[in-house]
């Protein structure tokens, strides 16, 4: 009558599925984010932009300022909790001796009220050398930002070389950002 093997087929298919899921979970637990589709902007020139300054004593953010120096563009907002978690890491980063003079940290205050952004920097201190405000998020759209914080490392030729989605962790800075930076500032 009925042969035996067909009833074993479903469990076989399911076992294969489980292997894929387990593999993916292992990757996620290791900290890779395999589910993120890489930015199409990588290795492309950064989009042009010209944003008014957020604070009086620092210049606004312009695309023209990108060439000649390695720049880290950090999109942040005063209303964003992960940005707050990331903030001290950025301050530490800029205080490192090997970083001094080799990296420009450009801040872009994304979809924020200027007074809120200024208040936030006053309270938490300001690590940004240049800082612009992107009130309606237009520049964010050009860069492909889909949430704050998000950061882009731009090489001396003005090309995007690395995109950080979400806040930097100490591991990201140590394992990804610093090696790339060393390579780019050669």
């Amino acid at each position: 009558m009925m042969r035996r093997w067909p009833t074993f087929l479903p469990i076989g298919v399911f076992a294969v599925l489980v292997c894929f899921f387990a593999w993916r979970l292992v990757l996620i637990t290791r900290g890779d984010a395999p589910n993120l589709i890489p930015s199409v902007m990588i290795d492309k020139p950064a989009p042009a932009f010209d944003l008014p300054p957020l604070v009086l004593d620092r210049p606004g953010a312009t695309g023209a300022a990108l060439t000649g120096k390695v720049t880290l563009i950090n999109f942040f907002s005063s209303w964003c909790i992960p940005c707050r978690a990331e903030h001290p890491l950025l301050i530490d980063l800029m205080n490192r001796s090997e970083i001094k003079g080799r990296l420009v940290l450009m801040g872009i205050d994304y979809k924020d009220k200027p007074e809120d952004g200024r208040g936030w920097l006053n309270r938490l201190s300001n690590p940004y050398e240049v800082i612009g405000m992107d009130r309606d998020g237009r520049v964010g759209i050009d860069f492909g930002v889909y949430g704050v914080p998000e950061s882009y490392l731009i090489d001396r030729q003005g090309r995007i070389r690395y995109k950080q989605v979400g806040p930097f962790t100490p591991e990201d800075i140590q394992g990804k950002l610093l090696p790339l930076l060393a390579e780019l500032s050669k």
């Binding site: 009833t7 399911f14 899921f21 979970l25 589910n35 890489p38």
Partner: protein, 663 residues
């Protein structure tokens, strides 16, 4: 105090489910009635405890108790009461609690209404239900406790995602869970039947109404979600083939197949192993959806905060539940021998074809959803699979489905007469041809695609076919009207249910065709006073008003006055809202419907010179998608009131009472 009460209730519920999983099962194996009967009070206790826990969390939300972390993260004092309540299940922890609560409601229903079930089957089914509940309770207590306190308590909460603050979405998750969890009934009964090694008509008669309840709830839940996406996301679309949507659609597809194959088991005593497999697969797909949404394995616009630790736990749960049941199926499945023989051209054959198509569709959606994962694992690159894939694969599967749906109910069991059926469907054939030709002629001029004419023809075919089958059964216009009336009364409710459900599908098909073929979209910058014409409607932007204060948002509201041929039709007030907590913009589309089509307006950003970007759509037949879904649900509910579910299964009860006599 109250959060601790909730937590204790959860812990006690965990132990109750442990008892309920073990004792009745041992009793069933040993034939000990007293041990088996433990399941019934245990199921009631489980429900009471879950209701206590859920009520405790609800009260924390209603009173804005910000010493509870979950409330802090998802609520805010400014939120309207409706969204404080819906906030309970608008997050991972609370939704898991709702999940187990609904599971316990179903368990209670078996305990209360299952008086005429054979005791062994009832004890085993309740035991399997308790095992599932045990797993999820452990999951809640170990990884996702909703009652965790914070000290010091903040003054206010973070608020709920504004996109979720919508009446359509407030009740979308409970209906989805009623559906997902409802399939656990079919699952538990399938496992119980595998343990007993017996599947018969009485079993099918017991499983079918529960599957029907779950199916109705899931249909409504999916329709609500789609409706919400349609009017809040502001793109005029209603289905995006997003992984989370797919996660709810897969169990719907296999659940629909289960609904139909259990008819064959009930009426013809065949397709047993297949039906059992479908019951296992349907619930497993519900679990898989839970896993995909909560583990971060796939990215989606509306997944919960992903946490790999939770992912590992849900995967383990999935392995135990699905893996265990599939192994049981592999071992015991071959012993479930079918009785009735049938030719391919029969109602069984048609229902089998329905099953094959539905399962293939579910498999296709699964493949499309997981393909990015497979491709990444096999180093084929990072890909995303979008609507083009799903449309290309799904539509060819659904066309033969709709064609046979009209034919199948007219075929007789065992051996059908296709020529006779087409003879009875003459009117359907004529109507279909008329609609196809008329659509093609009417729309053929202005780039109306040919396939759209066929889509509407397909809908007509199915609709007329469903009505004809009903007319055929009551001998409408062929016998004196008094006899027809008598037949109308005597016709089983399940027959009405089927006619309604199939007609509902026809309406949905028409809606999908209309929206895919003839949507008109106009995007432009408008200044006050500008007029844009969309499908014969003139929309004039009269002005905008900024600074409108809502309960927890500020809004910019535009005013469009709509005229057609100079006569006023309606006024539309689309809004762009900025929520205070969390600060996030949302669009609130303004929709005017005449039930044939929707006029749909969205206001966008200001251009700096007093103008605004506006997106105006005419979406023909889109309301039919939602109306059709509601008709399907009504059909399911009508079928649920069928007499044979109320009187139960006489055959099995008789046998059971004989068994009782022996004991």
């Amino acid at each position: 105090m109250i959060p601790e009460l909730g937590q204790f209730a959860l812990i006690i519920a965990l132990f109750v489910t442990l008892v309920q999983s073990v004792v009745p099962l041992v009793g069933a194996v040993r034939g000990d009635r007293a041990w088996m009967e433990v399941a019934r009070p245990a199921a009631l206790a489980q429900f009471a405890l879950m209701a206590t826990a859920f009520g405790a969390l609800m009260s924390c939300y209603v009173t804005s108790d910000f010493s509870v972390l979950n409330v802090v993260q998802n609520s805010h004092t400014d939120k309207p009461m409706l969204y404080k309540i819906s906030g309970v299940w608008g997050n991972h922890e609370g939704s898991m609690l709702l999940w187990v609560l609904i599971l316990s409601i179903y368990g209670m229903a078996v305990s209360v209404f299952g008086g005429n079930l054979p005791p062994g089957l009832r004890a085993r089914a309740l035991s399997v239900q308790a095992m599932i509940a045990f797993g999820f309770l452990l999951f809640i207590l170990l990884t996702s406790n909703p009652f965790t306190r914070v000290d010091p308590a903040p003054l206010n909460g973070d608020g709920l995602n504004p996109l979720l603050q919508d009446p359509g979405l407030a009740f979308h998750p409970p209906f989805l869970y009623l559906g997902y969890v409802g399939f656990s009934m079919a699952f538990s009964f399938a496992i119980a039947a595998l343990m007993e090694g017996r599947v018969d008509a009485a079993w099918a008669r017991w499983v079918r109404p529960w599957t029907l309840v779950a199916w109705c709830a899931l249909t409504l839940g999916i329709a609500m979600g789609s409706w919400w996406a349609y009017y809040t996301l502001g793109w005029g679309g209603w289905w995006y083939w997003d992984p989370v949507e797919n996660a709810s659609f897969m169990p719907w597809l296999s659940g629909t197949a289960l609904l139909h194959s259990s008819i064959v088991v009930e009426k013809r005593d065949t397709l047993k192993a297949w039906t059992i497999l479908l019951a296992i697969v349907t619930f497993s797909l519900s679990l898989l959806g839970t896993f995909l949404v909560r583990s971060g394995v796939l990215t989606s616009v509306h997944s919960f905060a992903a946490d790999p630790a939770r992912g590992v736990f849900v995967l383990a749960l999935l392995v135990v539940v699905t893996g265990g049941s599939l192994i049981l199926f592999a071992v015991r499945g071959p012993s479930l021998k079918g009785g009735g023989l049938f030719t391919p051209l029969s109602r069984e054959g048609a229902l089998l074809l329905n099953n094959v198509l539905m399962s293939t569709a579910a498999g296709t959606v699964l493949l499309g959803t997981l393909y990015p994962l497979f491709a990444d694992a096999l180093d084929l690159g990072k890909v995303s699979v979008g609507p083009p894939f799903f449309n290309a694969v799904f539509i060819p599967l659904m066309v033969p489905m709709a064609v046979t749906m009209a034919v199948a109910p007219l075929l007789s069991w065992k051996r059908g007469d296709l020529a006779g059926v087409f003879g009875r469907l003459k009117l359907g054939i004529v109507a279909t041809v008329v609609v196809v030709v008329a659509t093609w002629l009417l729309k053929g001029g202005d780039a109306g695609p040919l396939w759209a004419a066929f889509g509407l023809g397909l809908a007509t075919w199915l609709f007329v076919g469903a009505v004809m089958e009903w007319a055929d059964r009551v001998r409408l216009f062929r016998v004196p009207f008094s006899e027809t009336l008598e037949r109308l009364v005597r016709l089983p409710r399940s027959a009405y249910g089927m006619t309604l459900a199939h007609a509902g599908v026809a309406v949905v098909i028409a809606g999908i065709t209309g929206s895919a073929a003839w949507t008109v979209e106009k995007i432009q910058v408008m200044h006050p006073g500008d007029v844009v014409t969309v499908s014969g409607y003139d929309l004039r932007l009269d002005g905008t008003e900024d600074g409108i204060v809502g309960p927890n948002y500020m809004a910019l509201r535009a005013h469009f006055s709509v005229t057609r041929d100079g006569k006023p039709v309606t006024d539309l007030y689309p809004e762009k809202r900025m929520y205070r907590q969390p600060p996030r913009p949302t669009t609130d589309a303004a929709i005017h419907t005449n039930f044939i089509g929707d006029l749909y307006a969205v206001i966008g950003d200001a251009d700096g010179t007093g103008g605004y970007v506006t997106r105006l759509y005419f979406n023909p037949l889109v309301p039919w998608i939602f109306i059709g879904a509601v008709i399907m649900v009504i059909g399911g509910l009508v079928s649920l009131t069928d007499r044979r579910y109320r009187v139960g299964a006489p055959l099995r009860t008789a046998r059971a009472s004989v068994a009782k006599g022996r004991v």
